[in-house]
Symmetry: C3
Subunit: 198 residues, 3 copies
Amino acid sequence: MRSFVIFRLSFLAILLPVATCFLPSYAQETTCSTSLLSSTSSSSVDMSMKWFQHELTITAPSRGCHLITADVQKAISKDLGQIKIGMCNLFIQHTSASLTVNENADPDVRRDMEVALNKIVPASWNHDGTFKHTMEGDDDMPGHVKTSLMGPSLNLPIRNGRLALGTWQGIYLNEHRDQGGWGGGHSRNIIVTLQGQG
Amino acid sequence: MRSFVIFRLSFLAILLPVATCFLPSYAQETTCSTSLLSSTSSSSVDMSMKWFQHELTITAPSRGCHLITADVQKAISKDLGQIKIGMCNLFIQHTSASLTVNENADPDVRRDMEVALNKIVPASWNHDGTFKHTMEGDDDMPGHVKTSLMGPSLNLPIRNGRLALGTWQGIYLNEHRDQGGWGGGHSRNIIVTLQGQG
Amino acid sequence: MRSFVIFRLSFLAILLPVATCFLPSYAQETTCSTSLLSSTSSSSVDMSMKWFQHELTITAPSRGCHLITADVQKAISKDLGQIKIGMCNLFIQHTSASLTVNENADPDVRRDMEVALNKIVPASWNHDGTFKHTMEGDDDMPGHVKTSLMGPSLNLPIRNGRLALGTWQGIYLNEHRDQGGWGGGHSRNIIVTLQGQG
């Protein structure tokens, strides 16, 4: 009975995403319109706040930018289905691999991202006196810089049981090392934390 | 009666941000002091965990960095007022537009940000053999790189019904395309997810 | 009695992180394995959703990248102990100082990060016509760019009462100004927001 009440409330949350306001344009800046997608408040009736946490271990086949949307979605599909509004955080527990969102269609974009990162943070900085932390190889200190530029933590909204990614958006794991560091390979741990209201 | 109890508890959460610790300086590193602003725990009495989700459609007048703090705040002002401690996530569902926080006063900062991004990821990389994904125009692959560097996802804390931005902080929408890609204009979707405790 | 029930449920959440799936390799892309670390759902029994918010004031001894993991952990250790699964957000309320995660061992990495940032966004852009916002000093506009590249907001997962940082990961405060701007020194406010389920 209780779960039915929760279900019915959740259902209302889907059916009632009424467009609540349409803001007028701002002078010369930006124009903006807004729709309320959903809104839930866990009062004494609906208390189905959910938390899930997973550890994904992903091994990239090579240095570079890799699309991991399918890996992530498979790992969390059961959890996602239980969340109407929520957030999903991906956190990579390393300092020479990073996470981002980028174009999911043309493989050239992944290739071009890797090339661009190598121009922004060139390996030559290991040899021209720029870097002092050079003992772990030419890919190490550039990998640390790239990781901080791209970021180790990625937050994606959840809407009606799905990651609210745009049509062309995919999740990237960027492997910045040739061999994963200290000879350990490219195996990378990602902590996936989901939270939301069902 | 119940809502009065919740209100009273929330009120206490405002009145009691007691400075709980003052940490001594660390040797040569950083000095640090801490205040507890608020703390709530939704036990059997206060269960007012709230979630809101909006879709903002923002159209930038041109390529470049645009201040959208007012757009965002208008869209979520009703929700914000219900949250004492919380988080607000802005997620732009595109791969050639990004979100960040930057200086909100001098328009030259917005102009200089755009110029800096064009120097860090120059359009010339479309013509010197750096990029292969060049068929969508000179602004496309650079836009993908800039988006990943700046990030599509922005997390802002909520405190006492307001975004806890610093005095000089504003929310930026960075439009990296000349025409929004594929001739579709600059219309960009942002999913705004708010959560917190009232 | 009630808190004992909650404790027992939380205990189960620790004891039962069953590996639920082992995904097969993907063709040429990435290989991935998944473990469910924990999963809790606040039903009518367990409603211990917790929120904490602190203000940290950290003063860096100089421009550059500084390890502040210990400062952060001391400030939030009592809160962390109450959270089984959660998220911790650090938000720096400034536009010329940023937060990231990077290598926590070799001080040369901190030094090299600062040097790399100065090459990616050189101070010379104040003098060659690139920047117009130059009146606040050579460190100001570069500081704004670096802050947006690195980001002012950092999200870290919480697992079993601890920040789920990797072995080599530390939290960095990057101070991009020589004197903190407008002569105000290097004192920086960080809003720390913790949320999770106990």
